[in-house]
């Protein structure tokens, strides 16, 4: 109990914490009976960093999330949270993580205060210390004045903020969130991300958040992009986008996209990718390239667009296919 109080009072100086990553994942593999969900994934999350795990459904990010939150044991590889092995020493890892699941974990029949009070007991907090901490964290998520109201009367966005408070109550070093904005309207989504940034800055917690939304991924400090169990890109959103040479040009082929791509490649010596009936080209000075290509293949191109690279382009650049597969069956499997 004494050490617990000490740990709550002070989480150590910045320099101490900056030296080691809060999460480090080494060559993590997870196989279900017939399917490989994680195929050798490695990355690190630094202290007080907002880290995004971006990928379509079925990319393995939920499996990774479950391993980090000690609900599943990986087939091989290591996942360390604050230096503890998630598979070997799950009890220690559980002390160090706050988890917000996609499904609602708060009890709607209880008040905001009661929800957090019960949560504190699960982490060995009690009495005056717990009471103070509940007040503090409710203020942090902007709900101090609603403490005595039942959670069932709250809006979706407010309920999610109580989930955040629940995850952070015991001052974990790491906050894990699984698609936390599912079911929220755009305004509440924006709000929640603002709160995540505030919590990172003021609670000094490393935040790992899974998402399949590009606009959310844009707001992370660093990002790991996953596809089919592999980590296909890692870096800040700006770094990732800058690796694409220049602009992204998309051509809608009038007839066979594959044939058109071959001919463009032969004529202009550029890399092309075929996505359905579209041909995608990454090219510096895209606006100058457009008239050339249209003139070269009259009647072959139905539409053409030029854009600055976005995260989705990073995904296509690395994997060679679209973020959301056309079939869509894959999407409904996981989660």
């Amino acid at each position: 109990m004494v050490t617990r109080v000490a740990a709550l009072a002070d989480r150590g100086s910045e320099t101490e914490r900056a030296s080691a990553p809060n999460i480090s994942v080494h060559n993590l593999v997870h196989r279900y009976e017939s399917r490989t969900a994680l195929n050798g994934v490695s990355f690190e999350v630094r202290p007080a960093e907002l880290f995004g795990l971006l990928g379509p459904n079925g990319s393995g990010k939920t499996t990774l999330f479950r391993i980090l939150s000690t609900l599943m044991i990986p087939t091989s590889g290591k996942a360390l949270v604050m230096g503890f092995d998630a598979a070997q020493d799950s009890a220690s890892v559980r002390r160090e993580i706050g988890v917000v699941f996609q499904a609602q974990s708060i009890d709607p029949k209880l008040t905001a205060y009661e929800n957090l009070w019960h949560q504190g007991h699960l982490y060995g907090l009690r009495g005056a210390l717990l009471k103070r901490r509940v007040g503090e964290i409710l203020a942090r998520v902007g709900l101090a004045d609603r403490a005595k109201e039942r959670v069932e009367t709250f809006s979706g966005g407010m309920q999610r903020r109580i989930e955040l408070a629940k995850g952070l109550l015991h001052r974990p070093g790491v906050l894990l969130l699984d698609e936390p904005t599912t079911g929220l309207d755009p305004g509440a989504r924006r709000d929640l991300w603002q709160y995540l940034q505030i919590l990172r800055d003021e609670e000094h917690v490393s935040v790992l958040v899974t998402t399949h939304l590009m606009e959310e991924a844009e707001r992370c400090d660093r990002l790991a992009i996953m596809s089919e169990g592999n980590l296909v890109a890692l870096g800040t959103p700006a770094e990732l986008k800058s690796e694409i040479g220049g602009d992204v040009i998309l051509l809608d082929a009038a007839r066979d996209a594959g044939l058109l791509a071959d001919r463009i490649r032969a004529r202009f010596h550029v890399e092309t990718t075929v996505l359905g009936n579209q041909v995608r080209i990454e090219q510096e000075g895209g606006h100058r390239f457009v008239p050339d290509v249209v003139e070269a293949f009259p009647g072959e191109i139905q539409a053409i667009s030029v854009s600055k690279p976005a995260l989705e382009d990073v995904f296509i650049h690395r994997t060679g296919h679209k973020f959301w597969s056309e079939g869509g069956e894959e999407n409904s499997v996981a989660n």
Binding site: G12, A91, Q104, I106, L122
Partner: protein, 276 residues
């Protein structure tokens, strides 16, 4: 400071958990608070025992005027302990449907990722359900004078003990059944298939002495029989019972322990894959 704490905690894994009693207490309290905040559940708990006893007891009472076994007792009186057991059975088992609800929502997940031993989860949930069903059983005792029962304080305490033991055992059984399930329909199926026959063959409706052959054998191994017998012995000191009170009580204690162990084993099974 933080590094000091982590290096201290590293080698001693058991200390990394919160202990059993605080989390068990908080889960117990949540169960109880949740219950009394749902008015319809409270009304159901208070009204259903009375309706059951009066309707079934009165109906049977006029249909089978003398059952042979119950002797001189009116059937409404004979049925009273069985009705009490039925109330406890249903409340105990059905409160544990909350395990399935907790699993569907994220609450159970959030408890599973907390540094809480599984035994605390089982204890908290089971004691929560036990409290509710024992309470309901005891409320039913208010009608005891109408069933020809006059209790002194010592016997009230003994009845309370029996009701607690049965509630605890059945709630633990409910927990063990509910833990691996993900739909309440499946849970209902199991209840109908096993638990209702268990009650029918407990001496609640007809006495052990009057039963024939294989039915009688089932009744002997049915733990609920000992609950009904113990209650009958306490409520009607003169009534004919098949076992002494002490051995019925001992059986109930054993039943409770075995059921709790079963619930504990179920909760400790490591779920390797299923991404639920």
């Amino acid at each position: 400071m933080a590094t000091q704490v982590t290096t201290m905690a590293r080698p001693v894994i058991p200390q990394a958990t919160t202990g059993v009693f605080l989390p068990a207490f908080t889960l117990w309290l949540r169960e109880v608070v949740r219950f009394y905040r749902q008015t319809t559940r409270v009304v159901g708990v208070l009204a259903s025992p009375l309706v059951f006893w009066l309707v079934i007891g009165s109906g049977f009472g006029t249909s089978f005027r003398s059952g042979g076994g119950p002797g001189q007792q009116h059937y409404l009186d004979y049925f009273y302990p069985g009705a009490l057991i039925m109330i406890v059975l249903f409340t105990s088992i059905f409160t544990m449907m909350s395990v399935i609800e907790d699993r569907k929502e994220g609450f159970l997940l959030s408890v599973l990722v907390a540094p809480v031993p599984r035994s605390a989860i089982v204890l908290g949930k089971v004691l929560g359900g036990t409290t509710l069903s024992a309470l309901q059983g005891m409320i039913f005792l208010i009608f005891a004078p109408f069933a020809g029962v006059h209790l002194d304080p010592v016997r009230v305490l003994l009845v309370a003990l029996v009701v607690f033991l049965i509630s605890f055992a059945l709630t633990a059984l409910g927990f063990a059944i509910a833990w691996p399930m993900d739909s309440s329909q499946a849970f209902h199926g199991i209840v109908n298939l096993f638990l209702i026959p268990l009650w029918l063959l407990s001496g609640a409706l007809f006495p052990l002495s009057g039963a024939s052959g294989w039915i009688r054998a089932i009744m002997y191994v049915n733990p609920l029989t000992y609950g009904v017998e113990a209650l009958r012995a306490l409520l009607y000191p003169g009534a004919e019972t098949s076992f002494p009170l002490s051995s019925a009580m001992a059986t109930l204690v054993l039943f409770s322990l075995v059921m709790f162990a079963l619930a504990f084993l179920m909760a400790n099974r490591r779920t390797q894959s299923s991404p639920r």
